[in-house]
Symmetry: C2
Subunit: 586 residues, 2 copies
């Protein structure tokens, strides 16, 4: 028996009993006559006491133990004289009478503390030590809790979890696939799924009615800080539903998770059209924890010889309440912010609505106070407020103003990570035009259904067609997205044609799905949530890596196990593959 209790459960009720604990040495303090050791396991920390007077040999052994040694001790639970009420076990200690060293430890390359001195790379190489730190472990405990609660909710409302295959077929639409050479089928490859999209649709054709899966997906993309080559989705699909049925089902899941995991009650989720999100937030994932929505004044400001406004296709701004007192320096910083190459605004126009009712702007040369007053009215500004205005090309201006709005939210402390403001963004366009390749791409994916009333536009003006597609956005982050799917073979075929597929290509790649549609496919739709991102949002962090047990770095490498790595020649031979790096470089 290596332990009778964990290091997190003993308290005054246990006083006097004999216990055996096992764990790691968090720290030890040698006070001459006494040695104290904090023993740590997943469940907490318990103080051990060794006494030089009563057991010198044992105490001497204890003194020789280093940090992160693994020990097992037996002793008696006693009330502490010097209590630590911050931890549940802080009122007791163990008077040790048996000590066994289960394993020693070299000195860790960084401290195993909440705030460690280890850099990112070192912590990744020794991830098993990094995972010992409370904040990292707590992230993974949160993730476990989220998964359990998600599954229980989904099960309770009648969804079946079905495992879809990992070894599937490569399809060129979408991101780049990871491929897996098949030894038994020479020269052929499996692909790892970017999502179980077609399989979940087939499950609907199969009459499964309500499917979900928490599932690993794969994308061979160049990685950014918040991207991983393998990631996890909560993947869902339902039959005989309209968009409303789906939104209310997953509004239920969202509220349930906030309630059970965070203890936060969420009101009904607002729904905002894509058009409104772009118009009022310049962004299809608006952070609605705060207002400062866009005000357009294009028509109001033209014809006063201010070339910047006269040439602009959009003049729009936000009203920062109570910010009239911003200093010149602060305004310069904001101007620099919007002029960064990523945003590329020409400059920032401001109008101060002073407390005394006067108005002062950076364009006083062109606009009278009377005119500025009219602007203030449109902005809904009050004395003490600051209006920030950008002008130029509509798309670029919206993008820059969106970033400026978020920056103002940051500066004013309006983006508290413990406040959660979810919403649905709906009515996304079906297609996006790409100038470079001169073709339409599916904004969501090729299986998304156009709104029935917009189907006639597919021939006349495809870019105008709205989709039955929706995103769940929380605090400015896209957490999930989905759509009602096409369930009719002819419409699906037409969609592939619009996306530039030849009939042969469409049949070769998605023939199995279109064939399935001919055997009684029900109306269906679904959604998928980015589980890593969802966990990081719930955990109040921006980084998904902190919520993945063994993440990869930006080069797609696991530096702990040293993967990827070369394989043996006989493995390549069996797969009939030759590596041809030389050739490509010549």
């Amino acid at each position: 028996m290596l332990r009778t209790h964990t290091c997190g459960e003993l308290n005054l009720d246990h006083t006097g009993i004999t216990v055996t604990l096992s764990g790691w040495i968090q720290r030890s303090r040698d006070l001459g006559g006494m040695t104290f050791i904090d023993l740590r396991d997943r469940y907490g920390i318990t103080q051990l006491v060794f006494n030089m007077e009563t057991n010198a040999v044992l105490c001497e052994s204890a003194r020789r133990l280093g940090r992160e040694f693994v020990i097992s001790v037996t002793g008696t639970v006693a009330e502490r004289s010097n209590k630590n009420l911050k931890i549940p076990t802080g009122e007791i200690e163990i008077i040790v009478n048996r000590l066994e060293v289960l394993n020693s430890s070299k000195i860790p390359p960084f401290t195993i503390e909440d705030n460690t001195d280890g850099g990112d790379e070192l912590r990744m190489k020794y991830r098993y030590l990094d995972l010992r730190r409370n904040p990292v472990r707590d992230n993974l405990l949160l993730r476990h809790r989220m998964a359990i609660e998600t599954r229980n909710y989904m099960n309770n409302v009648g969804f079946i979890e079905v495992e879809t295959p990992v070894l599937i077929k490569s399809t060129p639409e979408g991101a780049r696939d990871f491929v897996v050479p098949s030894r038994m089928n020479e020269g052929q490859f499996y692909a790892l799924p970017q999502s179980p999209q077609t399989f979940k649709q087939l499950l609907m054709v199969a009459g499964f009615d309500k499917y979900f899966q928490i599932v690993k997906c794969f994308r061979d993309e160049d990685l950014r800080a918040d991207r991983q080559p393998e990631f996890t989705q909560i993947d869902c699909e339902m039959s005989f539903v309209t968009q409303d049925d789906i939104l209310s089902t997953f509004e239920g899941l969202t509220k349930y998770l906030f309630q059970t995991v965070k203890g936060v009650d969420i009101e009904a989720l607002p729904r905002m059209t894509f058009a409104d999100a772009m118009k009022y937030y310049g962004n299809d994932k608006p952070d609605i924890r705060f207002g400062m929505t866009f005000v357009e004044i294009t028509d109001l400001v033209k014809g006063k010889d201010f070339k910047v406004f006269d040439d602009a296709s959009l003049v729009a701004g936000i009203n920062a309440a109570g910010c009239a007192s911003f200093t010149r320096k602060q305004l310069d910083a904001l101007t620099d912010f919007v002029k960064r190459p990523q945003l590329g605004a020409g400059g920032l126009i401001y109008v101060r609505y002073n407390e005394d009712g006067t108005l002062k702007s950076s364009v006083d040369k062109f606009y009278s106070e009377e005119e500025l007053k009219k602007w203030a009215e449109v902005f809904g500004a009050k004395p003490g407020d600051l209006m920030l205005i950008l002008a130029g090309d509509a798309v670029k201006t919206r993008k820059a103003l969106s970033e400026l709005r978020l920056e103002m939210g940051n500066l004013l402390g309006l983006r508290n990570p413990e406040v959660f403001a979810p919403l649905w963004v709906v009515d996304f366009p079906l297609l996006e035009w790409d100038d470079e390749t001169q073709r339409y791409y599916a904004m969501h994916h090729p299986f998304t259904s156009p709104k029935p009333e917009d189907i006639p536009l597919l021939d006349s003006d495809p870019g105008k067609v709205r989709a039955n597609a929706y995103d769940l956005v929380i605090n400015g982050v896209e957490i999930g997205g989905g759509s009602i799917r096409i369930h009719n073979k002819d419409l699906q075929k037409k969609m592939f044609t619009i996306l530039g597929f030849s009939d042969e290509d469409a049949q070769a790649q998605f023939g199995f799905l279109m064939n399935a549609f001919e055997y009684g496919a029900p109306p269906h739709g679904g959604i998928a949530f980015g589980f890593d991102r969802m966990c990081s949002l719930f955990g109040g962090s921006d980084s998904i890596r902190d919520f993945i047990a063994f993440p990869k770095n930006n080069a797609g490498c696991d530096v702990m196990i040293d993967a990827p790595a070369p394989i043996k020649q006989e493995q390549l031979d069996e797969l009939k593959l030759v590596i041809n790096i030389q050739d490509q470089r010549e």
Copy 2:
């Protein structure tokens, strides 16, 4: 609103209310004045009625609908005159007043009935139609239930589900890996995990204490009927435990699953040593639903000039109670059974213990009735019983006798798939000697700990070392297996040496694990269950394929989506790979 209710929930309590149902047409019966349609969804079947007299147009439309059409109907719930008490909805029907065809269907290539006329290949190609059949869907519902219950049990006893990576590193020990070329790291490969073994051990080093995961694993092996290239494990690991702690934890899970999923109460699981399993059942996965354990009579029978026995290193048999009346033909069939090339026994010796107390054997020439009586005593045989005896090389004889025992169990109906007899087989040998490669292989895997008392034998007689390894066996099927792991770097290094690794190879492949052991690795151990096999056992089937939504065939192909498949040249180029089939064939 596409439905107000499902096809499985309406009964007499709903009489008179207006409902909307959606589903598939299971069958329709046209009785002249009336047309009846059975509407099916995941939840059940509801009878629809169309009346020529009250609504001829609607009734005409209904008559034109074919099998598997998808429709939505609105109507009134009415009591049936001709009740079907076999189904929950059999007392009511829907008098339809609105009919909408949501999708048509071609005639399915096989009937969507419990017993279908479709062959295996056709059903695989149209798996989405096969999945509509009740028995197939029920298998996947069972699987879902098993997963949910497993997770809840594990969560309740303190285990954390942690997702381990799918893109890892290839290791040549064990089965063949599937590999994934890395585009970002030219010429390098990830491998898909055969199990998360090293990661779960690192989680123990990380102090996670209790880990589990229901996880996909991958093996590129030549497939048999019951093997799949991707399969699912319930993977578990615990720290600060002895073998007893693990067995009792997972005995708990086993009992819980039988209780909740099958309504079957399982007594305490017996534990049998590997040595006893081989001695009494000739098999390390004994089916203990019935007795007929082996009786060895080698010493008793020698020296009577019967060469077969005199030359044998083992003479052993089983006593088939009540089988003295087996006919000559039956005995010949059993003889043929053991003489098949797979078993290769030279012949079968039988001794009939007749009801009248006389004994009659196939070796009467060599043994007197007095001598046969002594055998009967050792066998514990009674009048009416039949003793079946094999002789020869010990290993081969045990194997053949084991198969004969199972065959007798089949013949006598002692292997009821609805009776469950789980047990633990313990004390497996650590190593297996392979004559061909002239080296030892790990019987479980290289991380398995020898029994502490057997460690001295590692140097003197490695083949004799027993491991702290155990299997969960149910009804003659290995459902799970695990071990206490090595947590000491030096012992792990020694183990790799015994397995023929050079120090460099061991360090290159498993250095990260051995390094981790130097930073305070706790004693730990675990187990993994074959989830597909477990589901098929609970479902009373021998085939795991029936319990996988989209299985692959024996060539590793998904014939529905047509995977694996060739990929585009640009994909190969990006990966710096050349396919070299020609070359190999010359």
